[in-house]
Symmetry: C2
Subunit: 348 residues, 2 copies
DNA sequence: TTCGACTTGGCAATCGATTGCCAACGCGCT
DNA sequence: AGCGCGTTGGCAATCGATTGCCAAGTCGAA
């Protein structure tokens, strides 16, 4: 068999058993079932294992116990590569939490195309993983099958999918953007622009609603809120700024709320190059808390998402599900954001 | 056995065999060895598999063939969370390439502490993975064991470790920064500052050498190059800028080369807030090609790393090693960078 | 000394897919 | 009709660890 391709398999449990002079079952129990094996025997086994450099073969273990300790994280279709680091920060946090608890993290679908969804489903069904974290994405489907058919625990991070039966960990977008709008109103601003993201996006729905309802509650007439599309990226912010610049001076808003930092950055860059001054002529605020914001000129006001906490909660929730705890399918953990006001906003 | 914990195992190969009226071996071969099974039989098997929704159990397969199709990527100890997205872009590129070729990607060590190296080694030895990509890190060690002991194919991405016997995929830092320095000299600059990173870092060594040797070749006296420490982050750029501001006006350099974009951004922010104008008073250039650079005020000149190509090459090289191709241990693939000049530089 | 309760460790089946080996079969040729 | 070769598919061993079951051993109490 393994003739041409001799992968050094390392010592197996049988080797350790022989070395220690006990049965394989004893070795297995000594290493995994504390208390099941008498102390002297256990020490003997441990010594033998260390001497041989034995490491348990996770593949064999997984096959036998019918469970892996590997979690898959599905990253968003577009990674929103820009200024904000929510994806990377979230990933770091999830990875750290899982690793601490002895789990592995498998990455899926960094760039989603037709075949990748199928790849995900196949992996899920193939017994390779024990749970899934959806990061700012909807559950993949392929052929007749969906992720749900794998019968695995699933947690949604960033998108609230608890109404669809997926426990979710989310920022309180609505309350956060509402606070930002109120802060701008308190500074005397009365005419607003909201530069939104993609219309079908979960965050967009929360954020645009937050702006509208808060302004309405403050008594700002609907006509004094202009909504532009920003697509969550730099170019969208640039386009929105061009629209903004095209309106007559006296009709221009003095406060601009953007659906994320990238949009705000594109906006600021464009109006600045056109000769306007931020914040003297117009105040701008973003969303996400990109680390670079503090070092922009002017420094960027933003709504900071606590990405690390979000990731921790998601990982923790999933582990609890994997380990058999019953979690309500409409479980929803909300993490507050922090309003960070910097140079890009000023009194009207 | 599995009484309390009935994980729905899905159909097995035996179920498919029964459904199709053939032996399990026939099913296995029909699904994996094209040509080995007569066409009519193969179709029968495929139909049965589809009908039952059969998916191969990767765990069992891996155990039998002694090989997984999972690659581990070790991310840098500090993720350099700032403006540049090299880690995320590289990750995306590696993930995409591996997925296309039917491999999985396991993430390790996003935050390295004492126990995580051990976790990595254990995983590597445990037969869970078939290869490792080191992303801007040195090989982990734990206890008496190092990653090398696992006998797995390893590729280094970003750091040139080919002298240590690890095939590497790297940017040509030296040539790139040399080109940048020459460009600044061509613009008439004669006094330089180099804001470096951490002294023991691979990139730092390349980049500082590039600056020194290029200036020397251009006949700029060593006294007209001032070297400051920037630590690769915003705060380091800020500190360097404070040092810079403290020197007397007539002694100040007019060209600042930074070891990465974050440093450059911190530098620009600080000197701008202090009343200097970039680029009128001082030209600044970064390194990495952070996407946000184009939208800074002033937009940031930088040396763009082709992260996607780097990732592709690394993944491709590793796959070739995994699949048995012989690769020279001192293999070194160099990917050129692109100099991108924007508003932050101007004639002296 | 004997009995029962408890502890300890070994035997062997098991997880699911792969694969070496071989038997059966079909086909063409003499 | 008989022979040989190539193709097809089945049997059963195998990968390495886990675990139900049971036997042997230990200890204390009567």
């Amino acid at each position: 068999m393994a003739r041409s391709d001799d992968r050094s398999p390392g010592p197996s449990i049988a080797d350790v058993a022989r070395e220690a002079g006990v049965a394989t079952s004893t070795v297995s129990r000594a290493l995994t079932k504390p208390g099941r094996i008498a102390e002297p025997t256990r020490l003997k086994v441990e010594a033998a294992a260390r001497k041989l450099g034995y490491t348990v073969n996770q593949t064999a273990r997984s096959l036998r116990v019918g469970q892996t300790r590997t979690v898959m994280i599905v990253l968003p279709e577009t990674l929103y590569i820009g200024a904000s680091q929510t994806v990377l920060e979230g990933l770091e946090s999830v990875a750290r939490t899982l690793t601490e608890r002895g789990y592995h993290l498998l990455i899926a679908n960094v760039s989603r195309e037709a075949w990748t969804d199928e790849h995900i489903i196949t992996t899920a069904l193939g017994g390779t993983i024990c749970g899934v974290i959806l990061m700012a994405t909807l559950p993949p489907k392929a052929g007749g099958l969906s992720l749900a058919d794998a019968g695995l625990p699933v947690v949604s991070l960033h998108f609230d999918q608890s109404p669809e039966g997926i426990p979710s960990v989310v920022s309180n977008d609505f309350a956060a953007i509402s606070e930002a709008v109120r802060a701008l109103a308190d500074m005397g601003h009365r005419k607003f622009v909201y530069v939104g993201g993609r219309a079908d996006n979960y965050h967009e729905l929360q954020r645009v609603r937050g702006v509208r309802e808060t302004l309405a509650a403050l008594g700002v007439p609907a006509g004094d809120l202009r909504e532009l599309r920003g697509d969550f990226n730099f170019a969208g912010g640039v386009r929105a700024a061009q629209d903004y610049l095209n309106s007559a001076d006296e009709r221009r808003a003095t406060a601009v709320v953007c659906a994320n930092d990238d949009t705000a950055i594109g906006f600021i860059k464009t109006v600045t190059d056109a000769g306007l001054n931020v914040p003297a002529d117009v105040s701008v605020i973003g969303f996400d808390g990109a680390p670079v914001g503090a070092f922009m000129v002017p420094s960027l006001s933003t709504i900071q998402q606590l990405t690390t906490e979000l990731g921790q909660h998601a990982a923790d929730l999933l582990i609890r599900m994997v380990e058999g705890e019953t979690i309500a399918p409409d479980e929803r953990i909300e993490v507050p954001c922090q309003l960070v006001l910097r140079q890009s906003v000023a009194d009207a």
